[in-house]
Each structure stands twice: as C-alpha cells, then as structure tokens.
Symmetry: C2
Subunit: 745 residues, 2 copies
C-alpha cells in the first residue's frame, strides 16, 4: 500500500467510524428532539407511584382529620355545612390540588320543628289518658358530647306532620312481604291503625311508603336489639352496641336529589315544584313517621294483643312478640298517640370539588367522592370516609408537588346533604350530566370508611372488579391487634372472609350489586358511570351493621375505642382508594375487564331463566332473544379484551379508541327513558330494588313487572308489561354489545 493508499484507508476508516458515531448521535438526538410528546403519550402507569402514595397515607393524619370533623354536629343546611366546606376547600388548595371550589344548591331539607312546645313523640296511654310511657325528645346524655346544643333530635326527614291516635299493629320490618303476610295470611288490616315496624332489613323510606300504601295512620320505627345489638357485647359508652335510648335518624325520601327539582339541578333559576307536587313526584310520605329507641319500643310491644307474631318476626326484646291490633287484657283500653312535627325548608348545601389535572388526557376524570354531612357527629357515617378521603387528597397533592401528575384528571368531591337523599351529589350530577357522560372514567365512592375492622367489602359495577382486585392485592392487610394480620394483603383477607365461592380456597372475594344508599347512585344509576363503593365492615356473625348508626352516640370515641384505635383500617381503605384511582388514572389501557361484565350478565340471565321460565312458558314468552343478546355481549366483550391485549401500545389514538369504549361500556346500559314509574333510574341492568332502595335489583324492569304478578288485578296488562320490559332489556343489552364493537355500525 502506498502513501496515497494509506491516506485513503485512514480517511475511509475515519469516515466509517464517523458515520457509525453520527448515526448513533443522529438517531438518538432525533428521539428527543422531534416528538417530545410521543413517549409521554404512550407511557404506562408505574407501580412506584402507588408505593409512594401508599407510604404517604398516614393513620395519624386520618385520626386528626376525624377528630376535627367530629368535634361538632354537621347536619346539612346548617352553618357547619358551609363552614366545613370552606375549610376543606382551603385545605385541598393547600395540599396542592390544582383547583378546589364550592358548588351551592338550594334544596328542600327537613328538620324537627323549631317549636319546642310541640316536639315529635310517641305516647302510650291508658284508656283514661294517663301516660304509660312517652318517648324522649333527645337521646340520654351517656357521654360528654351529648350536651352539644346543635345535636338534632331524633326524627325522620320528610315525614308528614300530624297528631294521630289509634290502635297499634306490629308489622315486623315493614316490608311489602310483611304487609302481604299480615293482610293475606293473618287477616289483619293495618289500615286506620298506627303501625310499628322495626328498623333493619330494608331502607326506612320503603317502610314508610308501604305503611302509607297499606293505609296506616302513622308509622313508628324502633331499633330492636336483634338487629342493633349482639348478646354479650356491652352497649355504648362501654361498648359499641345500641343502648335503649339510642335512636336511628334518617330520611324517608326514596327518590334521589332535591325533591323540588327532579332531573334538573337546584340552582338559582331552577323551576321548583310546590311541596305538594313534590310529595307525589318525589315520593315523600304524607303520614307521620317517627323513630324511637327500644327502651320505649319494648313498652309499646310488651302487652300488644292479637296472635303471637310469626317466628321470623320476633326480635330480641325479652317479651312475647304479638301482631296486635290493640293490647291484651288487662291493657285493652290502651292507645298510642303519635305526634310528629317536622318542617321542610329550602336551604343551601355545598359540595366541594377539587381537581388534579391530568397531564395527557385532562378530559378524562376519575372521581373520588364522599359525603360530608352527618346526622349528628357522624364519626362513622360519613366522617370516617371524609377523614380518609382528605388524607388521600393530601397524599396525591404531595406527589403532585414532587413533580408527578396523573395521566388522567383526579377529581375529589365532598358532597352535601347526602343523608337526606344523596342530594348534593345528585344535583351536581344533574348539573354536569353532559360533561360527566362524555368524560368520566369511573366514580369511586367512600361513604363510611370503616364501620368495623373485620374485612374489606365492596359493592360495584362489574367494570370495577379488576381494578379493586388489583388495588386490594397491593395494600397490606391492616393489623388491628398487636399480633398483626395473618393475611398478606387486604385482598387475601377479603377473599378468605367473604369468598364468592365459599368452598373454594382460591375463590375471588364476593362483590355485591349496587343498589342505592350512597352517592354512587346518581353516577351509576342515572348516568351509567362505572362505580364502586368500598369500606371495612364488622363481622356479620356478630351483627349485620354497626349498632349506633345515625344515633348521637356515633362519636369520635366510638371509632377510637372500639373500631380502629390505631386508624390502620382507615389507612388501608385510603390506600385501596388511592391505588384504584391511580390504576384508573395512570394506566395506559384502562384497567377494566369487559368480560367481568359479560360473566355478570350471564349469571343474571341464568337466574332469570331459573326464576321465570315456567311462568314464561305458560304465557308463550321466549327468553331466546334475551339469551342471544347476552351471548352477543359476551362475544363482544371477549373481542374487546383481545383488542386491549393486541393493541399497538405505541399509538396513542389506537389506545384512546379502546379506552373510550371501555369508559363507555357502562353507558351502554342506560335507557334514556328510564325505568317505568321511576324514570330517573336509567340503568337497565342494575337498579335499587323497588321494595328496598338499599338493595340492588338485576334487570329491574323485568323484575318489577313480574313482582307479585299472581295477584295483579289486570293480568293481561301486567303480562303485556312483562313482554315490553323483556324487549327493552334485550334491546339494551344488545345495544351495549354493539357499543363496544370495533366496527359498531
């Protein structure tokens, strides 16, 4: 090789090395320079954020929150409604949320009359008018909290007012089947009588509605120890069971939202019904209804006449339960007087809405809601949840201040006037129905965070199953006693204690259907936004619900002494909420398993077949089309799930297309015409039961049409209604199937 040749060789080597280097430089410089958004748009969520947010949620903060919130009674529409709302807004802003604001609504609320001379009460009298026993206006001062002048006396909101006197009839839980049993089997007509029902089993508003439908003059509702105490457990203040003077307050409204402005927000220019119209349209009782404790209840029931009550009607008072009417010898002359003096007033309530905006899809909302109002101190309902929600908001605010932002927006909502009938949330949902329908990914509700420390439990749309399973697997099971938990995760403990398939050690946990009873209702039942409600509960083997519910004994001490002294259960609930919100807000592909929904639909269709096929066959009604629609939904769900797996995860629009369909899956079940007779409820797959608002009813249109059809006056008309509802249900399921198809049309 000569000099020239070597020159060329060196130059060539230099060139080659240079090109290689240059290509590398050029290639990677391009990556950073040309499309800065590209990586960000298709970045998936990161588990480390979840760990960080869990770390940030601290029990001592939750305890401090709860102590502050329960320091005063905070019923809706009274000064603390605004006061606590403003404080919360300020704290959220301070925590680093991008925005926080109040949304006021002027709504019809209900309070005991301010006239001290005519309190609501129940009086048992001898024939000559001598008082045997009379209910107290206030609960007994068993603790230091009871002296607070702002405690509202026990009452049932929206009760009719009146002063009635008559014979007493015991109607068990006041369920429709109880009234049927009374009328049809026992030949006792409650019409013209004062009825006494025990609390429990169903929503109290349904008791009042049935009592009115069956002609009762008035209704007394008492808490029986069978439902609100457990033998061998001490009563408050020595334990968490209900003392004789404890009374459950509560609303009687079955409809949701402001009774004067159904379907529309109760803003300044809203058209308002008159109170008389509202009674009809929103289903408020006209008869007087009043709650009492079992200290008075036992005296009313002790000498009741009539036959002995059926076995399943008997509570745990140490008496012989009888149905009435009237009293037994030598007390036959006794009468009961029920005086109720309740005032309805238009008052202002406030929601607080706080937002951390999403970095990539700010127009997608993951909403975490909790109500703020309580009947009295509300240490469990709802302030346990409020305390947790606030800590979750603080934790996310902290992360944001550290530089993190979720992909989608996180929305925190503190609702007013839930106790009266989900009013704050309903008015807000009605005001923002368009935006929410178009943009909301999910609604996560936390009402009571912990009414016990036994296990996590959830009621949810099937669209939320995957997300709550994933979240609970990531959260350690809280150790209530020093020995610690024997379960690794909330999920493990939940699956063991509430298995879906009791015999199977690998069973998933059971998740109940959403009925009504908390603020997920307007989101889920009215708009079709996938929703979930989470909490910790007590051991159902001990008691089915917490005994001090809606009494003035629901104090900070109850939680601190008897439920969660170290607030670790509360912490766990907050962590589950945060992990779910994070999963839904940060995952590239939404963590929604469409086949969970098709499985649920298949189960419902199977039970429809089991329950109705004989009667349907007699009427020549076929379930074939319904079965096909459910099968079509199932195939569509499987195809969508495959698309979720096969999608080009580098293409942000392809991901958004799939996510849009996942988000809108639940909307597919909404019929804008609503359910017959209760058109505000528009979810065709799940509704509150028409006979118990707390419970979920699957395929409610069909179930309502079939209810007690054997005794329908016009059989032909009722069967026509069944056929119509079957067609609507079939159409809606098919329509939902179509809406998650890639092609669609």
């Amino acid at each position: 090789m000569d000099g020239k040749g070597r020159f060329l060789l060196v130059a060539a080597i230099g060139l080659v090395v240079g090109v290689v280097l240059g290509v590398v430089i050029g290639y990677f410089s391009r990556q950073a320079g040309s499309a800065p958004w590209a990586e960000e748009l298709v970045r998936d969520g990161d588990d480390s954020v979840g760990r960080r947010v869990q770390e940030e949620i601290l029990p001592e903060n939750i305890e401090a929150n709860l102590r502050r919130l329960t320091s005063v009674p905070h019923i809706a529409g009274r000064p603390m409604d605004l006061g606590q709302a403003e404080e919360l807004r300020d704290r959220w802003l301070q925590y680093g949320l991008d925005s926080a604001r109040l949304t006021p609504y002027d709504i019809l609320l209900s309070y005991p009359s301010s006239d001290d001379n005519s309190p609501s009460r129940v009086t048992l009298m001898e024939a000559n008018g001598t008082v045997v026993i009379q209910s107290q206006v206030e609960e007994a001062p068993l603790d230091e909290y009871q002296t607070d002048p702002n405690i509202v006396p026990p009452f049932n909101a929206y009760s009719g007012s009146g002063d009635v006197e008559g014979e007493l009839v015991y109607v068990n839980y006041g369920r429709v089947e109880d009234f049927f049993h009374l009328q049809r089997d026992l030949n006792i007509d409650p019409a013209g009588k004062i009825c006494i029902a025990r609390y429990g089993s169903i929503f109290r508003g349904d008791k009042a509605e049935k009592a009115e439908q069956f002609g009762c003059l008035g209704l007394i509702i008492y808490s029986d120890p069978a439902d609100y105490s457990a033998r061998g457990y001490p009563v408050y203040p020595d334990g968490w069971m209900l003392p004789p003077s404890g009374v459950q307050r509560g609303t009687l409204m079955i409809a949701q939202g402001d009774p004067l402005t159904p379907f529309y927000p109760a803003n300044e220019y809203a058209y308002r019904l008159s109170e008389e119209e509202a009674k009809v349209v929103s289903g408020l009782p006209t008869i007087p209804v009043h709650p009492i404790g079992f200290g008075v209840g036992i005296e009313l029931l002790r000498y009741l006449g009539g036959n002995e009550a059926p076995a399943e009607w008997r509570g745990d008072l140490n008496i012989t339960y009888r149905t009435g009417p009237g009293f037994q010898h030598p007390h036959t002359g006794r009468r009961v007087r029920l005086q109720v003096n309740v005032q309805n007033e238009v008052k202002r309530t406030y929601n607080v809405i706080g937002i951390i905006e999403g970095s990539v899809e700010p127009d997608r909302y993951v909403i975490m809601g909790n109500h703020r109002d309580a009947w009295v101190f509300g240490s469990v309902d709802p302030s346990s949840g409020s305390a947790v929600q606030e800590e979750v908001a603080r934790a996310f605010g902290k992360l944001k201040q550290e530089g993190w932002r979720p992909r989608r927006s996180l929305v925190f909502a503190s609702w007013g006037a839930e106790e009266y009938g989900l009013i704050g949330s309903t008015e807000w949902v009605e005001e923002y129905s368009k935006v929410l329908s178009e943009r909301a990914v999910a609604y996560l509700n936390i009402d009571i965070a912990a009414l016990g420390n036994f296990t996590f439990r959830s009621i949810a749309s099937p669209a939320m199953f995957q997300s709550v399973f994933d979240a609970t697997k990531k959260v350690p099971d809280p150790a209530v006693n020093p020995a610690g938990s024997s379960y690794n995760s909330v999920y493990d403990s939940w699956a063991a204690k509430l298995p879906k398939d009791a015999g199977n050690p690998n069973s998933v946990p059971t998740i109940g259907q959403l009925g009504s009873g908390s603020d997920y209702t307007p989101f889920f039942q009215h708009l079709g936004i996938s929703s979930i409600d989470i909490r910790f509960i007590c051991d159902p083997a001990v008691i089915s619900y917490y005994a001090l519910y809606h009494s003035s004994y629901e104090t900070f001490d109850l939680v601190k002494k008897f439920i969660d002294p170290e607030f670790k259960v509360h912490q766990a609930v907050g962590r589950v909420l945060a992990e779910m919100a994070l999963d839904l807000a940060d995952s590239l592909v939404l963590p929604i398993d469409p086949t969970a929904y098709s499985t649920a639909l298949q189960d419902i269709a199977a039970s429809v077949r089991t329950e109705y096929s004989t009667q349907f066959a007699e009427q020549g009604i076929s379930l074939d089309h319904l079965n096909s629609a459910v099968d079509n939904f199932t195939s569509a769900a499987q195809r969508l799930k495959r698309r979720m797996a096969d999608i080009d995860r580098k293409n942000p629009l392809a991901v958004r297309v799939v996510n849009d369909q996942l988000m809108q899956l639940e909307r597919g079940f909404i019929d804008p015409l609503g359910l017959p007779g209760r058109e505000w409820y528009r979810h065709v797959v799940y509704a509150p039961s028409a006979h118990n608002s707390y419970a979920g009813q699957a395929f409610p249109g069909l179930a309502d049409a079939m209810f007690d059809i054997e005794n329908a006056v016009n059989q032909t008309a009722r069967w026509e209604e069944v056929k119509k509802q079957l067609a609507i249900t079939t159409y809606t399921v098919q329509s939902a199937a179509t809406a998650i198809e890639e092609g669609g049309l």
Copy 2:
C-alpha cells in the same frame, strides 16, 4: 505537518465528514423507523384529494343511475324495496367500499286497500244523489310511464278509513291559525263538516291533525295552482307545472319512525303497540283524509256557499273562493261524500349501510344519508339524491382503490320508508343510538338533490355552517345553459341568490333551521348529531316548490327535460356533498366553528326578548338567566375556537380532546326527557314546529308553552309551564356551554 499529523488530519476530516453524514442518515432513518404512526396521526387533510374526488364525480353516471332507479315505482315495503337495496349493496361493494349490508325492519306501513271495489274517492252529489263530479282513482295517463301496474294510486298514508258525507267547509291551508280564524273571526264551526284544505304552507300531517282536533268529519286536500303552478308555464308533460289530474301523495304521520315501536328499533323481538294504541301514541289520524287534484278541487269549491274567503285564503283557480259551509243557490242541496279505504300492514323495509373505514380514527363516523323509497317513480324525491349519493360513493370507492383512506370513517346510508315518516332512518338511529351518540361526527342528508336549477340551498345546524361554506366555495357553479354560469362557485351563486343580509354584497348565504321532513330528523332532533340537508332549488320567484311533488308525473323525463338536462346541477350537489364529507373526515381539527352556534343562539335569544318581553314583564318573568346562559355559551365557544387555533397540532391526543368537544357540542343541547308532549324530540334549541313539522322552531319548549297563551283555559298552569320551560332551556344552554369548556367541571 509530518506524516503522522497528516494521517491524523485526514482521519479527523474523514471522521467529521462521516459524523455529519451519519447524523443526517441516523436522524432521518429514525423518523421512518421509530414511530411510523407519528406523522400519520397528525397529518391534516389535503386539498388535492378534494380535487380528485370532484374530478371523479361525473354527470353521465348520475344520469345513468337516475334512469335505472326511476325505471320502476319503488314504494317502501313492496318487492322493489328489497330489490333495489340488494342491488345497491352489491354496487357499493363493487365500488370498493369496505363493507355494505342490509338492515331490515318490520314496520307499520299503509297502502290503498287492495279491494278494487271500494277505492278511496271524493264525490260531489246533487241533493238527489246524482253525481256532479267524482275524483279518479288514478292520475290521467299523460305519459308512457303511467301504464305501470305498480303505480300506487293517490292516497294519504295512515289515513283513517271511512265513508262520510256532509257539508263542505274550506279551511285554506288547514293551519291552526286558519282554524282559529274560521272559528273566532268568521264564526264558522268546522265540527261535523267535511273540510277541504289546500296543500302547501305546512306539512299535510299537521293539516289532518288540526282537522281532527277541530272536529271535522273528514279532510280533502287538493293542490291549488297558486301553490303548484306558475302562470305562463306549461303543465306536464309539456312543462314542469302540475296538470289538473296531478295529485300529491304523502304521509299523515307527525311522529317519526315505526308507529308501533316508538323509541325502540322495530326488530324481530320488539314490543309492538296495537294499532289503536299507535294512533294515540304516534298521532295517526282517525278521520278519513284524501288528496285530490285541482281538476276535481275546482268543482268542489266553485259553488261553495258562505262568505267570500279572506284575501290570503284565495288560490289561483278562476273562481270566487268562499268558506262554506254548504253550497250557494241554486246548488244548496249538494253534498260531498268522502270514501277512504286505506289499509295499514306490518311490512319489511331495508336500509343499506356502506362503510369506508378511517385509517386513523375508524371510530369517528361521517354519515351521508339519502332515502331510497319513493311514492311512485320519485325522479326528484328522492332518486335525484340517490343517483348523486351513489356516484359519490363510487368516487370515494375509486380513491380508496387508488390507495387513499380517510382519517375518519365514511358511512353511506340508503334509507327505506322515509316517505311514511322517516322510518328506516329512525329505526336505525334507535338501534344504534349508543354508538352514534358516542362516535358520529356529522350527518349529511341529501334527499332531493335538485328540484330545480336555480341555486344551492341548505338547512343545517350552525355547527355545519363552516363546512358547507368551505365546500361550496370549492365547487364550480354548474352551468345549466350553454352560456355557462356567471358565478365562480356554488357559494358565490348561493350567496348572491339567497343572501342572509339582503342589502350586503358580501353577505354569507342564508341557511335555514332544521325542522323535520327528511332523515336528518332522528340524527339531529333525537340524538343531537350535527346535521345538514342540501339540495338545489327552483327560483322562489316562480314557484315555492316543485309542482309535480309526489305525483306519478315525477318521472325521469321531468328531470332530463326540465330540471337538469346535462346533470351538471346534480354533479355540483354531489361535489358539495363529497367536499363536506372529506372536510369532516380528513381534517386534523374538525371544521366546526363553535362561534357559529353562539351567534345563532344570540339571535334566537334576541328574538325571544323581542317577542315575549312585554308579556314576561307582566308576569314577573325575567330573561336574565337565559341571557347569561347564552353569553356563557358564547364565551365558551370563543375559548374553544381559540384552543382550536392554539392547539399543539403535533400531539394527536390534544387534537382528539378538542375534536371530541366539537363533535359533542351539539349533544349538549339534548335533554333526555325530551320536549313536553313529544318526548322523542330532544333537541332543546331546534325542533320541528308543533304546528308545521316541516319548519324549524327555535327554543321549542318555550314557544310551545307560549303558543296562543292568551286563549289558554288555565292561564296559571300555562304560565307555570312557561316558567318551567324557560328554566329547562336556560339549564340546557348552560349545560352545553359547560360541555365545551376545557375544564368542564
């Protein structure tokens, strides 16, 4: 420099050159290799595609299409319904559409009785029963087409059947104001009489409804030359004016869609009302109604008694128009007999749905619809539109075969049974309501493509204004005569002939409000999908509509000889349709100007103030909240428009967020509860007038409540209804404003 130095220098130079080269190579290789979707996802539409598609739309093809389509009568529910649907599906597939399929519905249709012995007819008799004149069952055989055995005789679909006899009363157009004038000012009660109305001014179904409401025994509708002829112009077959025997067929149904399945698709498992229920629910007349030509009409009216009709009631028959009732001397004994024999039957109709899938956003649909069914040959209504739509489909199919694809999906729809009440489109919209609400960008309707050659005209949602202006500017004005057009573009001619602001030479063209009357109704009024209807019209100075409308003389010859001999007008309409579709399907940011909507709302609010403010002031009703809501919408629209301009056009998700809001802008005006008394109509800003379905009524809830309020029986209740509708209108406008806000909540 030594040898080593020179080596190093050479190596260094080589290296530098190499690096430079390499960087360039690396940089650009990265572009192609790393994110193949990135450029595609944010590519904007390209004008060259529009030029190419315009080039491809050929008048000779449209002519051939029209000749083929009009070769036989093709009424809905008869064999040609399926036959033409199958042929169209096959041709669409052959043109290169990705898919094309039939969607069948079983619906209640209506035909003249098949019993030849009892035809529908009108008879004028002397007192002794001698026939003076009797309407013919068929139109006169003025051309070679009239021998076709499949021509359906003139009738009004869904008329009641019956045989009534009585005195005759002339009710002008049969509008509510005509009946009011008759009753209140002229003291003539039409109850118990046979009424005769002239066609025109309002939808014939409204004439029938009013006649029934005012107690008429039956209704005869005739076509007066004042409305269906122009003096000095020859009648068919020598010209395009209506001959004496020509009769306008047409439906009487005011509701939309299958009368037996309101709100739900008429599929195999649908729940069907009985015909009796349907008459009430879907508003079908029970009285007999029958259409006649003016050849018979003049004889009925010639000797009518009573006073001379008001000036504006007089038509162009060479007689003195009188109101009746009864006949004048010496014909006082004459009576009119109306026999109507119409049968309703459940029959199957078919839509054809063809799709070209979008490459980037296949889940966004731009829908182009036209109905296929005609009362007889339908050369104008609708086959002029069908011929154009098919050519547009072929043109887009051709482009696709050449390798092009739209960003969003193009959907072609050929509707069945439009003439009966938009049935095919309505059933389809009801079946796919979820998918359409979530994914449809716009619906472009072409019913009649050209009923004349004078000018382009459009009725549309304000959301479509920008797109139709842009499209018409790109399409050359068609030259009907050899001298060519004196306008450059369709837009220029349109703006000159139908200016919005008559005095202003730079005025934009006027665009009317959408009422009902064609297949945009279910999309726009029921779902809130932005819609437009386009066509060419005749010179309104000559005649307001084409004279042979719905007669059997609406033949191929009519179009070829008198409207558009070279099919250049049809070509222009096709090009406008194609350019609009392309604009909506291919533009990166949707060509929707939200401020066009706010301007329209401001205009409507201003006319509400003008019209009602005195009465409202008397009632203490304030328009302040409505004005605020409109102002809020205006600000929101301006902000959205700014975001459209400022958006990062390289970020496909940021673009999609804005596009989603533009797409959903119109949905914001939908109230799921619908308008009072006609709940299927859910658009709060625009509805068909309650008194003339053809016309659009702005703020219909308010307008209906205010209608004739001076004469309302219960004034208080009516003013309550006004207040309620004002609140609902205000809320809905505010809600729509919120839904286009970036933040939303």
